[in-house]
Symmetry: C2
Subunit: 242 residues, 2 copies
DNA sequence: CGCAAGATTGAAGTACGTCAATTCCAGTGG
DNA sequence: CCACTGGAATTGACGTACTTCAATCTTGCG
């Protein structure tokens, strides 16, 4: 049930059978959330931590002018907001994009897990630090790269993150996003997203078949987008020397 | 010595005299860092947590194309990277912009502080969650707002953050940044930063005298930049209804 | 089969970047 | 007190990556 999370955490630390069991127990309360439904809404004061088991969700903010800013994608194995309860209320929302299975972990349970001795708490910390590093890299991406490299960079990241939770098939993976959602993520119009994707396809960097995206040549895509995966702090894979 | 930090934390929780003393003791090892010098450099594996006592520093990444992306500003009272030691190595650098006094707090000491019972640990957590919320808001800002609103939004934030640590004088504060640094922050050319600032001045929103920036009418600047300070999770001040 | 939502296209506008010159200003040395 | 310097701010002219609008075409799905 919590396989993706475990797989992700084990990149960083070896978990004991007990650790695994603790996670299984914590994630018993599973709800299915339909596409376009919120998991948490701005101004909420949530009492649970949410773990995505299946499907894609997005962290987003609405801007007074009507724009939607997507701030992060949450895929299987991702925990949302381990410690938000410390803050008075949410300053953003989290919504399901596709149909999601989400485990609701009671705040108190989560606190216990984090306080346990051993590797589990450390590993979860590590994953939240990586989430923050991703946010920083997105900031670099939005403010400093052109549309084509920006999109390519994003694709590199989602490929590696999908791979880390066992959701890839060679170098292809499900990218269940509309071009409008991509635009809200990258700060681009849908028209420009469309043309830019065509461009990447024309360059032979990617291929898409429905919602499945195929990276034809990972090295070339990395090269093209100046992709340095160090911020994901994954072990083993994908070193990049510069 | 650690007054700004204490002042900031007390927005969130009442600290005991003992809490205050613990902070004082932890921040004994103070170093002066000159402008343009790094406090931590990418790929370092730091053993200390750094607390800015005086001056401005910036979190930044260099991009292969030679650009510098500024990801955050660190002002007095800001702690850098409470828990980076969990990750193998830094994925970005932190550099002093002006001359900075920085307290080097040994990792172990910091761990003890976070484990103590009572309000101090909670308050420090709160401040790191706010740092992350700031990062998200910056992402919104870069990807979804025009240059003039983007700059205005940034100025609103720095005004409130400066105010929270007692560095404002009415609605004016020191902004020791060059236009090039502003550009590296906002993803704009220096030329465009220059023209945009002139524009804000011409609209009567701000005035600058050397490195001191005066906000002429906070409400108007908030209005202009769609500024909603909820993400700073400050108590009391500056509610915004929409 | 039929309908929406999404993807694609074309044409025209604009907010920004680039390049290169000039002016301003704080600090330094005489 | 002034002249000199180098970094920062400012300006003008021009180029371009993106946006906007509005139409059409495609696709998944009841």
């Amino acid at each position: 049930m919590v396989k993706p999370l475990i797989q992700k955490l084990e990149q960083f630390a070896k978990l004991s059978d007990e650790d695994r069991q603790v996670l299984e127990d914590a994630a018993r309360d599973v709800k299915v959330i339909g596409p376009r439904q919120d998991i948490i809404t701005e101004d909420d004061e949530p009492n649970d931590v949410h773990l995505i088991l299946d499907g894609w969700a997005a962290r987003y903010k609405m801007i007074p002018n009507g724009d939607r800013a997507i701030l992060a994608y949450l895929i299987p194995g991702d925990l949302c907001d381990i410690h938000v309860t410390l803050l008075n209320q949410m300053d953003h929302s989290i919504g399901a994009l596709s149909t999601c299975r989400v485990a609701f972990i009671p705040r108190q349970k989560m606190d216990e897990i984090m306080r346990r001795d051993g590797q589990l708490g450390r590993a979860i910390w590590w994953s939240t630090l990586v989430d923050e590093a991703i946010l920083r890299e997105w900031l670099v991406n939005m403010a400093h790269r052109s549309a084509d490299k920006r999109l390519a960079h994003f694709i590199c990241e989602m490929l590696l993150r999908s791979k880390a939770v066992g959701l890839t098939d060679d170098d292809s993976f499900e990218l269940p996003l509309t071009q409008e959602e991509l635009g809200d993520t990258m700060g681009l119009s849908t028209v420009h997203v469309n043309r830019t994707l065509q461009d990447l396809r024309a360059q032979g960097l990617i291929t898409s078949r429905g919602k499945r995206l195929i990276v034809n040549d990972v090295d070339r895509l990395f090269e093209f987008s100046d992709y340095n995966p160090n911020y994901l702090h994954q072990v083993g894979g994908h070193k990049r020397d510069r």
